[in-house]
Amino acid sequence: MAIRRRDFLKSTTAVATSLSLPRLARGAEAASIYDIERFGNARILHTTDTHAQLNPVYFREPSINIGIGEMAGRPPHLVGRAFLERFGIRPDSADAYAFTCVEFEKSAGRFGKLGGFAHLKTLIDRLRSDVGEKHAMLVDGGDLWQGTGLANIMQGRDMVEVANLLGIEAMTGHWEFTYGEQALRDNLEHFKGEFLAQNVFLTEEAAFNDAPAFDKATGRVFKPSIIKELAGHRVAIIGQAFPYVPIAHPKRFTPNWTFGIREEELQKHVDALRGKDKVDAVILLSHNGMDVDLKLASRVTGIDVVLGGHTHDAVPQPIPVKNAAGTTLVTNAGSNGKFLAVLDLALDKGKVGDIRYHLLPVYSELLKPDPAMAELIGKLRAPHVTDWSEKIATPDRLFYRRDNFAGPIDELICTALRTELNAEIALSPGFRWGVTTLSGQPLTMEDVLAETAITYPETYVQEMTGSQIKDVLEDVCDNLFNADPYYQQGGDMVRAGGLSYACSPTNAIGSRISELKLDNGKALSANRHYKVAGWASVNDQQGAAVWDVVAKYLRSGRMLQERLGTGVTLKGVDGNPGIAG
């Protein structure tokens, strides 16, 4: 399969040029960015990691996303200007705002919010009808049901209704599993599409006890794939759920299921689809994360395109990866509803002739919200909108989360935990979801929930020795910077409050973290006990929900008087284009 890089560049440039207006406006000339030149005979639309953000959001892309080893300096480990240069995007353009952190605050005012399911619906319907119903399909890569207070309280049911109206035909999952097996199955009863996962199996005990499974012979819990007819050709969509669900989240949610990358089972399945089912194309709908997908594409043969998610990387062009039998294209389609991926395929007998790929930013100011979806969103939000709209603070600073080591929103959470729970140190998980709020924008309970809404929000305070704290930091850091992507879980570094340290990402586990110091400048002592507060523990905890702790702190009005700081010194990664200059 040939990739015409020049064509990708051309389309990116075209987008950039047409958006050079000082301010976006709903108008014929601006909306033309969604006029995509027809190509091939089939179109697959891909959304991923929307994190249930029903309405348009601000979301600042990372200024630190370091790649180590073979991943150094390669997409997705490019940020800021290095990213713009690599993909030929003009610095002051709308695309620069959508894809990078460059001049984020200034551009937020010019280009507005992105995403929103009513806006997505309008865009999706348009791109479907451009090619005709029989030539198009819509798939979602998971993390669709989690990320807001509403999704949390409804256990994702709101998003099932939205997915049905949007027309999602196949999806896979990650946070979907954190509602537990029963809620997941109840939701899937109502889902009109297919939930696909080739890599989720019954544990031996569950199989022994005759637990329900899609295929008892293999132990597969879910259907691994579907075959969709597009333009008279057969396209296989295989689902790949997040491989590390029982490790990254409490095991109690999925006691009967075992996950993993399952390369070998995947290869067998691809071979069967090609050999027995005679499909013309194989697409992997993946929640592996981009680094894992890039490695997988080099080892598993017979996949045409990996439509990727999990690591929230908005990568404008597919990355070609060579393997023993040909080339596989790997994509990643960003997060929070900011982007819609459009994969146009020239399908032929038994093969894909060529492809075109566009990762379209969903500029909500350019799209008229779909009335039916807007009505559904209004109806779903109605029971909580009053409670959650109350203004609880108006900070005079930008709040965002996404960066490898720290973000202001997690500094706020850590400070709230330390203050409210009276702890010396706070730890907060390095999630990549959660929206951005601008300086001077009132914070509501809905905003706090958008940063914290999970099914295990209980806070804790515990005694830990200095050496235990260092071990935790080393362990999580290895999940981020292990040179072998298969040993990475995705996500960012655990956030530390009241503690500064130096980090050498290129070192091995055990020697990345050094110079640990408390806020008062004293070195962390290996044998001393410290009071540590945190949340989102994989162990059972009993404390108040983190959103209540953060809201209480914000209501106290103390935030503005306290100094917020991250305190991570990076070593050995000077000049890495995963760090914005």
């Binding site: 132990g219 879980q489 996500g491 994989v538």
Partner: protein, 161 residues
């Protein structure tokens, strides 16, 4: 063990489960079934040694060479360090024994199996791992020693994404 005669589709899984259960039931004598067949002496000394190289030497008296004819199946990241599913199958001929070593465990030798003539050289077991470690499978075949190694990470957990 009615499952042995049952045509139930989960037979393979059930059998796997039954083998693991049997091994756990035998506690520290994972090679006991083989012992009856091969009538070998329990390698007490090898199980006591801390270091992997020492244990291999005590068990086999020599060193192994890596082989791509051994398929060592283990998770990259363990879902539960207490029971890590690890299996080995090999296309090597005349296999007489397969042993598992976890380098970072307090005692490196985790299990050792003897293979009587005509037995399919494949074994699945679950190992307890104290922390992140390389796991090595040693296959003794036609009087020679071969090995395969994989890193298995045991993590405190917690997420991103």
């Amino acid at each position: 063990m009615t499952t042995h005669t049952s045509p139930h589709p989960t037979r393979r899984l059930i059998l796997q489960g039954a083998v693991s259960v049997a091994l756990i039931g035998l506690g520290n004598l994972p090679f006991a079934p083989a012992r009856a067949a091969a009538n070998d002496k329990y390698p007490e000394e090898a199980f006591k040694l801390k270091n992997e190289a020492d244990a291999i030497k005590a068990l086999y008296g020599r060193t192994a060479e890596p082989s791509d004819k051994i398929k060592l199946d283990a998770p990259e990241i363990a879902e539960n360090g207490g029971v890590v599913p690890i299996s080995v199958a090999t296309t090597l001929d005349k296999v007489t024994s397969i042993s598992f070593f976890v380098a970072e465990n307090p005692n490196a030798l985790a299990a050792s199996y003897k293979f009587p003539d005509g037995t399919i050289p494949a074994v699945a077991n679950r190992l307890k791992m104290a922390k992140t470690s390389s796991v090595t499978a040693i296959v003794e075949a036609d009087g020679k020693l071969y090995s395969a190694t994989k890193e298995v990470k045991v993590t405190v957990g917690g997420c991103g994404g």
